[in-house]
Symmetry: C2
Subunit: 186 residues, 2 copies
DNA sequence: CCCCTGGGTAAGCGTTTGCTTACACAGACA
DNA sequence: TGTCTGTGTAAGCAAACGCTTACCCAGGGG
């Protein structure tokens, strides 16, 4: 194995570059030539290892999608998610949620958002209330997180985009506690 | 005037078709050939009357953007906006907000969202509280509306997508009243 | 030694894109 | 009548796109 180059390293480089570019520009505005260039790799290798641009996109969402839901106690999940998505550290723009949001028309992206966010995130949120419409309430809180991400990263809406993420989390959690009575405040 | 055809009617047909397709598919996934076909018009006329696809997009957002903010008392604006964006009547999918959301990378779309929603919608919401961080609170409520639209129309997230719009409005308004004390409940 | 395998490369295929050009023709005005 | 202007049409251009093909070459096994 490993004659001249390293296939595993090449695949990883392509995956990294694709994750970054898809999150930054969305599926349509990202070209396979750009991905290969950022990865420092010949573009034909992209098709050798992943088959197609669509398949690469699906692989990105599948491999990084799990990070969406970190292992946290349910009561703190919302707070952590808010801080992570709006935090200035760790390049929140690379979050695969943004890749999905900027490529919403893509079937794979829609499916991943529905599965990852719906089956996991919303399920956790649902456990934070005893109301009969718990699922709808969870979806609404999820929608709030998504909307904040859209306005901040895609539209750079001020003052939200530059607001202190702890202040944002505090306000959102305060209002959210009306819908989910067991959510942890800041 | 009106030799063989009607230039004004042609322009209106193009504008209608473009508004519909941009809202449905976003800027990138909409081709000038599709717009011309839906309008029942030769595609060269699109460039004669609007100059470029970009300019047509800007014209769509400019001409229909004003509808975003209808003349309503401030206290009821949020409620009306929620009902309109989630209502089953009047094809809410044609709302120009969706055209902008599905084309978020586009500079014109980002500018329009910032102006229309920011300078108008958020300004109205801001008047509903006396808190010192009124602007941030208004942005957060705006983010909620946007997020609900994204999850419903772009991701078809259940149960939110099929939920009764009055139930949605009731929950959102209840939680929002924590941030904006003068908002009208359902 | 030669052949085979696996990783890497260059070139270009066919299609689609936004946009342009050259033209046809009906009516208004002289 | 003849010309000119405004409207509509057909054809196609240059570029960019996703993807494919043909090839190169380092190394291991016989």
């Amino acid at each position: 194995m490993s004659r001249r180059g390293d296939a595993a390293a090449t695949k990883a480089a392509l995956l990294d570059a694709a994750a970054r570019l898809f999150a930054e520009r969305g599926f349509d505005r990202t070209t396979v030539r750009d991905i290969a260039a950022v990865a420092g790799v010949n573009q034909a290798l992209l098709f050798r290892y992943f088959g197609s641009k669509d398949a690469l996109f699906a692989t990105v969402l599948a491999s990084r999608g799990r990070e969406l839901i970190e292992e946290s106690p349910a009561e703190q999940l919302l707070c952590r998610m808010l801080l992570r998505l709006t935090g200035k550290t760790a390049r929140p723009e690379d979050h695969p949620l943004y890749a999905a949001l900027r490529s919403a028309h893509h079937d794979t992206a829609a499916a991943v958002v529905n599965q990852q966010l719906g089956e996991d995130f919303a399920r956790v949120l649902r456990s934070l209330t005893d109301a009969p419409d718990a699922e709808l309430r969870a979806d609404l809180v999820l929608a709030w997180v998504v909307g904040i991400g859209v306005l901040r990263s895609m539209f750079a809406k001020e003052p939200l985009a530059s607001a202190d993420n702890r202040a944002v989390a505090e306000l959102v959690l305060k209002a959210t506690s009306v819908l989910l009575e067991r959510v942890d405040r800041v």
